[in-house]
Subunit: 227 residues, 2 copies
Amino acid sequence: MDHPKAVLFDAYGTLFDVYSVGLLAEQLFPGHGQALSVLWRDKQIEYTRLVTTSNDGAHYRPFWELTRAGLRYACKRLGLDLTAEREQQLMNQYRHLSAFPENREVLQALKARRITTGILSNGDPEMLGIAVRSAGLDGLLDHVISVDSVRKYKTHPEAYRLGTQAVGRDARHILFVSCNAWDALAATWYGYRTLWVNRYQLPFEELDTQPTRTGSTLRDVLAFFES
Amino acid sequence: MDHPKAVLFDAYGTLFDVYSVGLLAEQLFPGHGQALSVLWRDKQIEYTRLVTTSNDGAHYRPFWELTRAGLRYACKRLGLDLTAEREQQLMNQYRHLSAFPENREVLQALKARRITTGILSNGDPEMLGIAVRSAGLDGLLDHVISVDSVRKYKTHPEAYRLGTQAVGRDARHILFVSCNAWDALAATWYGYRTLWVNRYQLPFEELDTQPTRTGSTLRDVLAFFES
């Protein structure tokens, strides 16, 4: 098969480490940092699904607000006292998540090969803009696409369609990269070529569909251009 | 406000105890029974959302199959050796989940008041039929409604619409009862009057919508007919 013409990356969990809030969470709530960062993330994603499925997007709210709602739920669930100040600190940390270290070199290698690059993310435009600039990736991305314009989160097909529209290519010519198994699964269903970067040695979803390839770091993107 | 004209119950988690598989799970995988039953349930629900959101139901599979897929994922994730025999045992247990003890008296009290009763469930018709008969509830339910006919799981509005269609009343005249916070939330969004039965002292979802009322057992349904 010919090489992909473009590479689109998921952002949260793929380029940016959503669990990097765990350190601050541990400082604020000793002994609960990891549990909080996991439940926060799970709830944030659950909320994207609830608002997308229900009533044709009538309950859509930007990712930033769902992130805050997920934090509030997670703290209540774990019995942690989320003061206004702590909420502000944690949300501010979420705005400046750590980028995974190999991001830049992979994007640079793609640009050196004149491959179109982009982000296709649940994040709203403001969050994405700050995260991309903080990580110094802004010169390396041709497209920074937020689902906010269609008010439906991945895994809704209208969200994935934004990627093909921006690139101007059929999905089979685009490589979609995600560390989130559900995202790699649904992008495969949509028709993208997919790389699931399995950072945490997890099983893939058990729904009889496999990503095109599975890797362990973003560097595995480059193998799509070598054969 | 006048009394509801009908009461629709969620099934799994509300009438039937999805965590009652934990005992067998603990026998099969000592020390992991609770973790397995929780992750199994979470994954089952996640899969209903993934197949409902993606590609307009093209990836729909009946609840029984998603239940099996969730079990397989959960065992892989927890590093448990799910032999074919163990899978069969656990799935058979799921087919015969324990019913919560107050179910019958609440349904009997509703029928004594000539209130229309029913189930509106993600379960497929065969699963529901067996569960209802096993629990001896079949004479007490006017409707046993499965989302299978629309191939979309709750929280999709087409799933909730099956309830209003079956009863022949507007949602505001129907009380929808669920122990699952996400289900009570989305039913409220749809327009039902709702009772969230909070069996496990959990926080409600943080999405700025509250159920009509919150209770702690199914008996709290009856308070809707007393004032």
